[in-house]
Amino acid sequence: MGARRPARRAPVRKPVAGTPPWVMPAAVVAGLALLIGAFLIIRWYTTPLPPTPPSKDSTAQIVSTITALPASEFDTVGQGTANNLVKPISGQALTGSTGKPEVFYYGAEFCPYCAAQRWPLIIALGRFGTFTGLQTTTSSSNDVYPNTVTFTFRNATYTSQYLDFRAVETTDRDQNPLQSPSPSEQQLVNSYDSGGTIPFIDVANRYAASGAMYTPDTIGGMSWLAVADSLKQPDSTQARAIIGSANLITAAVCKATGDKQAEVCSSAMIQGLEKNLK
């Protein structure tokens, strides 16, 4: 019986290497997991510690410095580099406990954007009245822009012949609950800050602003005193951002209060900003 030549088979595709197909994807996933772990460790070790808070006397001096800046400083800076977040709103006029137009602030101590925005808010309101009880604090060490230096409104009081001020700091810098808004204040937040962005500022239900008007990075790594000193230089990065933001808030307050604080509101610069507020 002669051997039969086997029939020619069609070419068969055969893997060259014996490596299973799942090895490379699994290696990539494992590598990514390792990288993310390494990033978290780097983040942990590079997060700076919060700066040492100034003494009570120094705090008072810093507050005095930023609330007594000369009018020429404000006029020179104008809007500066501030992002105009002030939007017109309509609703029943918001009045405070003394019946004057109220500025309502809603934020939290951990929040870096609130930390940034408190500087111009204090400076602006300082032109219409007087703060007492402001304390220094920093934003969270574990959030973006960690340890941004600022003040807290938690124990602060404000007196003015032109307006009332009410602040709610919902949590401390470690996100523990701190203060709660009243039902009517919560209604303001729901109505005019539907995105839930903090800080939220309502100027007498005439204007509202959500978020910070400049990036907290502007004062990143600085001490309270260094920020206050930088504000004395109108051409400094900090002054152009913070005083520019303060001027926008001032313009909103002036317009909402009928320019009653003439010394501040009659400035050509403020009048110009008021026109842009609509």
Partner: protein, 138 residues
């Protein structure tokens, strides 16, 4: 088209949709709805300098549209080295952006993470089908 190709094209289209959404929100000045506290914070990420390409007024998500768009076109064609190279580009970019989120900013944007996961999915599809390409005919 093979099943991996179909999946890769669909993932690319999903990536285009996410990237377009983020780009539109950027130009509208709106922050996407996602948690804004703790380690999740879209606002912090999307308003950071890293959300723009080289400081230009072009959001990083626009690069996402381009990457996923090219990826979708590539996967309509037979697997080649271009797929592998394009996946490497995407993976390297994702690693950099995750580094920025975790190390530089300390927070993560959920919508950005969705786009990152889609890039990684395409990378994994590429690597899964790649060995089958290295075959010989007997």
């Amino acid at each position: 088209m093979s099943r991996p190709q179909i999946v890769a094209v669909l993932v690319s289209l999903a990536g285009i949709a996410v990237s377009i959404y983020l780009t539109l929100l950027h130009y509208a000045g709106v922050v996407p709805g996602c948690p804004v506290t703790g380690p999740m914070n879209c606002e912090a990420v999307l308003s950071s300098p890293y959300a723009l390409i080289a400081g230009l007024p072009v959001p990083t998500s626009a690069a996402g549209i381009v990457w996923f768009g090219v990826s979708a076109v590539l996967w309509l064609r037979p697997l080649s080295w271009i797929h592998l190279a394009w996946s490497a580009v995407g993976l390297a970019t994702v690693v950099y952006l995750v580094f920025v989120e975790i190390v530089r900013l300390g927070v993560v944007c959920l919508w950005c993470s969705a786009a990152h996961v889609l890039v990684i999915a395409i990378v994994l599809i590429t690597l899964t089908v790649w060995p089958a390409r290295d075959t010989v005919k007997e």
